[in-house]
Amino acid sequence: MSGNRLIDAALVRQAQEGDEAAFEAIVRRLDPMLRAWFVSRIGQRAEVDDLVQNTLLRLHRGLPDLHDPTRLQAFVMKAAVFETQDYYRGRYGPREYLAGPDALSRWSEAVPGADVRIDAERALDLLSEKARAILEMREYGYRYAEIARSLDMTEAAVKMQVKRALRKLRKTLGESGGA
C-alpha cells in the first residue's frame, strides 16, 4: 500500500479482523482527506481537529458492522455528516445559548393553559413560510449562522425574521406584553 492513497477492500477487511496496523493505515489515508473536507465546509477552524477525530472514532466503532468493505466511502460519509450536523447544531465550541435556557425558565416554562394553546395554534398558521422554516431550524438546533448559510441570508436578516414573527404574532397572541 505504501505510496498509494487508495483504500482497497482487502485493507478494510484486515482492519475489520482486528489488524491494528491495517486500521492505522486507513486512518493515515482518511485523515488528510477528512481534514480537507471539513476545512472546505467550515473554514480553517480549531474545531476541524475534533471533527476529524470524532469521525474516525465513529468509523472505528462502526467498522465491524460494515458488511461490504467496498462501501467504506458511504460509511465514512455518514460519520462525517453526523459530525458536521453536530457542528451546525453548536455541539462543538461554546454553546450559542449564552444565557442558558435556565436563566429564563421560571418565566417561560409554565404549562400553558388551553386558551394559550389555542392562541398558539392560530398564531402558528400566520407565520410566513420563511419565518416558520427559520424557527423550525432553530428548534432543531441549528445555530443562526448555519441557518443563514443554509438559507442564503445574512445572520442579521435571519434574526430579524424571528423578531418580526413575534411582533406579527403579538396581536394574535392577545396584544399582551411587549413595549
Partner: protein, 413 residues
Amino acid sequence: MPAPFEHIDAIALYRDLTPERAMELQDILASDPAAVALLRKWCAVRALLVREMGEAPADPEQFVLFVLHESGRAAALTDSERIRVEEVAPAFRQILADSPGIAALASDIRNDMQDFEAHWTAWFTEASVGEASASPRVSSSRAIRPVRRDRIPARPSRRVPAQAPSSRRRVLQAGIGAAAAAVIATLVFFLLPVSPDTVTVRTAVAEVRTVELPDGSSVRLLGDSRLTYATDAMVEDGQRRVEFEGRAFFDIVPRSERFLLVTPDAQVTVLGTSFGARTAGEGTEVVLVEGSLRLSGRRAPDKAVLLAPGQMSRMTSAGVPSRPVSIPVHEHLAWTGLFVFHATPVRDILPVLSAHYGVGISADETLLDERVTGRFAQEESLAGTLDIVALAIGAAVAPDKSESDGYRLASLR
C-alpha cells in the same frame, strides 16, 4: 434607554441573548406581567412547532439516516439502522412535506453528502502523492503565533496533497484548493527564512479577527489574510512597518513615525488615519475614510498619489496607482463586514441598513440630509445601530405605523 422595540425583540430571541441582555430581560419580566404573558405564549408557539416537527428535533441522527436512505444511499446504513429508518420513514416523509425548515435541513444534509462524495472521488482518484501525503496537518491559524527563526524545527522536505483535478465541481476545487493552499502556506511559512522577532497573523477563510498592533493601531483582518509586523515597537528605519496581504480595515494611531503598509505590489504611507485595503484581484486597492494617505507602487515609489477622505485608488497593471476618485465609502467598504459611514447622509444610510436587516426603515424628511460618521459591525443588532444613528442626529426610533414591522426615525427637534 433601549429603543421601544428592543423589549419585544429580546423576548423573540429569549434563548439566544448574551448574559447581560438576559439579565435585562429578567428585570423586565419581574416587573411586567404582560411581558411574562407574551413570553409564555411565544414559548407555547415554539413548543407547538416542535410537536409538529415530530421526531426530527428529538433524534437528529435518525433524521440524517432517513435523508441518507431517501436519497439512495441506504448502503451507508447498518442493518439495524435500515430497519429502524424504514419504520419511521412514513412519519418523516409527512413531516418533510409539512415543515419548510425540515425540508431545508434535508436539503442541507443532501448537499453535504454530495459534496463529500465528490470530494472523496477527487481525493482518491487523484495521482498518488506518496505516503507522506497522509500526515501533513493543516495547522490552526486561530492563535497568533510569534515565529522566531531560531525556533523553527528542521523539517524534512515533504510533498503535499495535490489539488483537485480541473474537471471537478468548482465548489470542491475551492475546498480542496483552500486546504492544499493552507498546507503549502504552512510549510512555506516554516521553511522560508523569517526575520527574527516578527509576528505573522493569518486568518482562516471565513475568519475575522481584530489585531492590536504594538503602537496602539488596530487592524480588522478579514478571512484568508496575512499580516506581519515586528514585535516591540515595530519601528524600522524610523517608520512603523507592516506587511499585508488579503483584506483588512486599518485604524492607525497618529505618531511621529510614519506608518508604512507594504503589500505585494504597493506601499501605503500614512501618519494617522483609517482606511480599507485589499490585495485580491487586479492589484492593491485602498479606500480612505479619514486622514490622508500616500499610495505608490513598490517598483516606482516616486510615482505616488495622495488620497483624501472618501477617495479610492487602485494599483494598475503598470505598477502605478490610479488617479484617486471619490466614491461612496460605505459601498466600497461593505466587504469589511462594517458599515463605514463618513459624513454619509441619512438618506443613504437607511437603504443600507434596510437591505442588510431585511426590514423597512424610514425617517422624517428633515432628517434625511443629516450626515453621520461612524462604524458599526454588521453582526450587531439593528436596534443597537439604529439607536446610535438616532442619537447622532437627534432622533428617536419608533415603529413605523405606515409599514408593518418597519421602523421610523422621528426628529426630536
